[in-house]
């Protein structure tokens, strides 16, 4: 685990709920609140990396943090990898041009700015080539068919390029691309690529390193000097010799490809070294105190399992974790009304309606008390474990008294003509209660998955973001997400 002190320092995380870890009825739920605003405001925070499984709202979170940071006075750039079209449009990103562009509509009064860019892998790669090779060699590389495939987005390239671009954007002293030069950012917010394996981008420098150190590369570079050291090693390994090796490769790949690769490697050789140095530097930058990783998840089992993996992996790489952003958390303004009670009351109303249809038989005052047993049976069917569903149920633990506790006049006293709308109201009320029961089941489930995470990683601060009905695709929506991020637990009814 990345030291707790680290995360506590960068985020100002503290024990919420008045320092009582056993608050309420849910002792395991996120005891440490992640405070986003102090993190965004701290001038020492230079880079925020949002990582997480696909489909949990990573890009939206990154964009919302960007808007909030900018409107709190920081000169911010958001580097997104693959934003949804309308989200991109909301940030003024209509084309992929690999250069940070100012986002219009940001409240600049506090002195901040927001810029955003989408990563264009090929452009980033091209820029590196152009910056590090003399024109002739650059042209040779750019025209190489092997390079063209590699740079256009085969496995792994996206990760390298994300690291490269991050290195450029930070004031690492590495030479940026032609347009990026001279920009100084207070805060860089990075949205990580949707990798096949979760944290591929962390492996990028290492993989690149082992690739470049690999004897294979040397082999490829040296097919002409068959008597070289590489060739000797080959012999030592029990092969007939280098010529056989290249022969095999040629047969396998086709002669053209191998020579393309050889040309490519030869041309890239000089700049690969620099590339690797920069990737290493970026890796170290990520480990530095100015960086904060946010693991983004949704309160679903698989997403949180991924999140736990991310947390462990970041610790392994000694990357400073600031906390977990839990998106799409549901709440209820009537959370004190449990699933069981809501269903029992709904049944009650529906039974009342049936009775009512028999002429002359008015609805019994405080109709049949819901047998708690019967309600339980219904409910258990859907929701076997109801752990954590008990907050302030005291209020409702007993079957309600027959007397109308609201003290409102009883509508059953109304004349018969008023019964029809009254029954409709009862049906509506019953439907609302069933809907509520469903919501409470969802809440229970979400809480359970969160508890599971919290039990594994109790030290990780958590910020919860209430679920929205639709997707976010404008600045107002991003602002709203930012508010929710800094407010903490889902608001009632949100």
């Amino acid at each position: 685990m990345t030291s707790k002190t680290d995360s506590a320092r960068t985020t100002g995380a503290d024990r919420s709920h008045d320092g009582d870890p056993n608050h309420g009825s849910n002792p395991l739920a996120s005891e440490v609140r992640l405070h986003v605003d102090p993190l965004l405001d701290d001038p020492a925070t230079r880079i925020i990396v949002c990582c997480g499984a696909g489909g949990v709202g990573k890009t939206t979170t990154a964009a919302a943090l960007g808007v909030r940071a900018a409107e709190r006075g920081r000169k911010t750039v958001v580097l997104t990898i693959d934003p949804a079209r309308r989200l991109a449009q909301s940030m003024g990103l209509t084309e992929l041009d690999n250069t940070p562009r100012p986002v219009p509509g940001i409240d600049a009064k506090p002195g901040g700015e927001l810029h955003a860019m989408m990563l264009d892998m090929k452009r980033t790669f091209d820029e590196i080539v152009e910056a590090h090779a003399d024109p002739e060699r650059a042209r040779a590389i750019l025209n190489n068919p092997f390079y063209q495939s590699l740079s256009a987005g085969f496995a792994g390239t996206q990760e390298y390029m994300a690291m490269e671009k991050l290195g450029q954007l930070s004031s690492l002293g590495v030479s940026p691309g032609p347009e990026g030069r001279g920009e100084e950012w207070d805060l860089i917010i990075v949205d990580t690529p949707p990798s096949r394996s979760a944290l591929d981008f962390l492996d990028a420098p290492k993989r690149l390193g082992s690739f470049l150190d690999g004897r294979f590369i040397r082999m490829l570079m040296a097919p002409a000097k068959a008597s070289g050291r590489a060739g000797m090693k080959f012999v030592n390994l029990g092969m007939a010799g280098l010529s056989m090796f290249t022969g095999v490769l040629n047969k396998l790949l086709g002669t053209g490809l191998l020579s393309d690769v050889q040309t490519f490697v030869a041309a890239m050789d000089t700049m690969f070294g620099g590339f690797r140095t920069r990737a290493d530097a970026t890796y170290r930058l990520l480990q530095a105190p100015g960086t904060a990783f946010l693991v983004v998840a949704a309160p679903e089992r698989d997403a949180l399992r991924e999140a736990a993996y991310f947390v462990e992996r970041l610790a392994e790489d000694r990357m400073p974790l600031a906390g977990l952003v839990l998106n799409r958390v549901h709440g209820s303004g009537a959370a004190e009304l449990s699933t069981e009670r809501a269903l029992a009351a709904a049944e009650n109303l529906e039974e009342g309606g049936i009775v009512d249809r028999e002429p002359g038989k008015g609805m019994k005052h405080g109709a049949p008390s819901p047998g708690p047993g019967s309600a339980d049976v219904t409910d258990r069917h859907h929701d076997s474990g109801r752990h954590g569903d008990n907050d302030s149920e005291d209020d409702f633990a007993e079957p309600a008294e027959p007397a109308d506790p609201s003290g409102l006049p009883d509508s059953t006293q109304r004349p018969e003509s008023a019964r029809e709308p009254a029954r409709q109201t009862e049906q509506l009320a019953a439907a609302l209660l069933r809907l509520h029961a469903e919501r409470m089941r969802l809440l229970t489930r979400e809480r359970r998955t969160r508890d599971r995470f919290a039990a594994l990683h109790p030290e990780v601060p958590v910020a919860e973001v209430g679920a929205l009905a639709g997707d976010v695709h404008d600045l107002a929506g991003l602002r709203a997400i930012g508010e929710r991020l800094s407010d903490g637990p889902a608001r009632p009814g949100s």
Binding site: G55, R207, F216, F234, L237, V261, S406, A431, L435, R445
Partner: protein, 328 residues
């Protein structure tokens, strides 16, 4: 089987493999991203690089599973074409295998698709297909056209030789009517948009698009009338939320709930949110319908996917699938 991240692609792929295996068939479920998602789903230990029976389907079919490891697949290839044996291990020591599978463009994807196609075409000694269907849990929608199209690209790069021939053979299978690329989505804006984009890309690449599979469909809990009520926050005919609120409070109180007046507002809010969601889902359904693909729906399983839930999804799918044809 492709789909945006988070849509449950692996689960749906597994459910399809189960559904297609029912009635005494044999299917192969293939994983290519090294995540061991299949093993997790079927609650078994990590899958090795070999085909093994992983589940029994309804009415006595079998699902086999294979997690393709590109490195091993490459060594297999070398073995197959050149009987390299220990030389293969030497190549591995040299980093050549690493190079080939992580850096060399496309080779990795060629191997993954190639291995799957080999399973599709494999026949037993009676010339019968070994598998009635092969279901691949493929990369996400954003990369699928490129992933499946990689062989074309590689066939262009490696202009002659076994790799070239292999790439072309794979492409023939992938573009044949034996293949169908299914897309998993949710009834949410981004996944639906990505599905639409993915279908366009696949069609442009000449790859056969199968069906749209809508996963995690939530039940509609209010009927149309009540949705209207919820949306307008009160039935028009009586006008005014206050009056409705009062009546609801009465009804709730009569049902035996204390503090009924305090429940009305939050319950109505939840109903409005539900109505909003149903409305959004309706829009997304309409968008999907425009693709002109068969659409299958799979219900949301409350407690996350357990094995029993997987069989339930398979049953749902089986009920919706057209009668069996010569599947690939």
């Amino acid at each position: 089987m492709t789909g945006k991240g988070g849509t449950g692609k692996t689960t749906v792929a597994a459910a399809l493999a189960l559904a297609l295996a029912s009635g005494g068939k044999r299917t192969l479920l293939v994983e290519v991203e090294g995540r061991q998602g299949i093993a997790q789903l079927f609650e078994t230990e990590a899958l090795p690089y070999e085909e093994r029976k992983i589940a029994v389907a309804h009415n006595g079919g079998e699902v086999h599973a294979l997690a393709i490891d590109p490195e091993r697949a490459l060594l297999d290839y070398l073995q197959m074409f050149y009987k390299l044996g220990s030389a293969g291990r030497a190549l591995k020591k040299l980093g050549a295998i690493d190079f080939a599978t992580t850096i060399a463009p496309g080779l990795r994807d060629v191997l993954l698709t190639g291995k799957a196609c080999e399973a599709v075409r494999r026949r037993d000694k009676n010339e019968q297909r070994v598998y009635d269907a092969v279901v691949m849990d493929a990369p996400p929608t954003g990369r699928i056209a490129r992933f499946l199209g990689v062989n074309e690209e590689v066939a262009g790069l490696a202009k002659v030789g076994p790799v070239h021939n292999q790439a072309q053979a794979v492409m023939r299978v992938l573009k044949s009517p034996e293949t169908a690329v299914h897309l998993v989505t949710l009834l949410e804006e981004m996944p639906v948009q990505e599905t639409i984009d993915g279908v366009a890309e696949l069609r442009a690449a000449g790859l056969p698009v199968g069906a749209a599979l809508v996963n995690m469909v939530r039940p509609q809990l209010l009927d149309e009338d009540l949705l209207d009520v919820a949306e307008s926050d009160g039935p028009g005919r009586r006008g005014g939320t206050a009056e409705l609120g009062g009546e609801l409070a009465h009804a709730l109180a009569r049902a035996g709930l204390p503090h009924a007046d305090r429940l009305v507002a939050p319950l109505l809010t939840q109903a409005r949110e539900h109505a909003e969601r149903v409305g959004l889902e309706r829009e997304q359904r309409a968008e999907l319908a425009e693709l002109g693909l068969p659409v299958y729906e799979l219900g949301l399983l409350g407690e996350g996917i357990e094995l029993a839930g997987l069989y339930q999804l398979a049953a749902d799918l089986r009920d919706q699938l057209p009668p069996p044809r010569e599947a690939a």
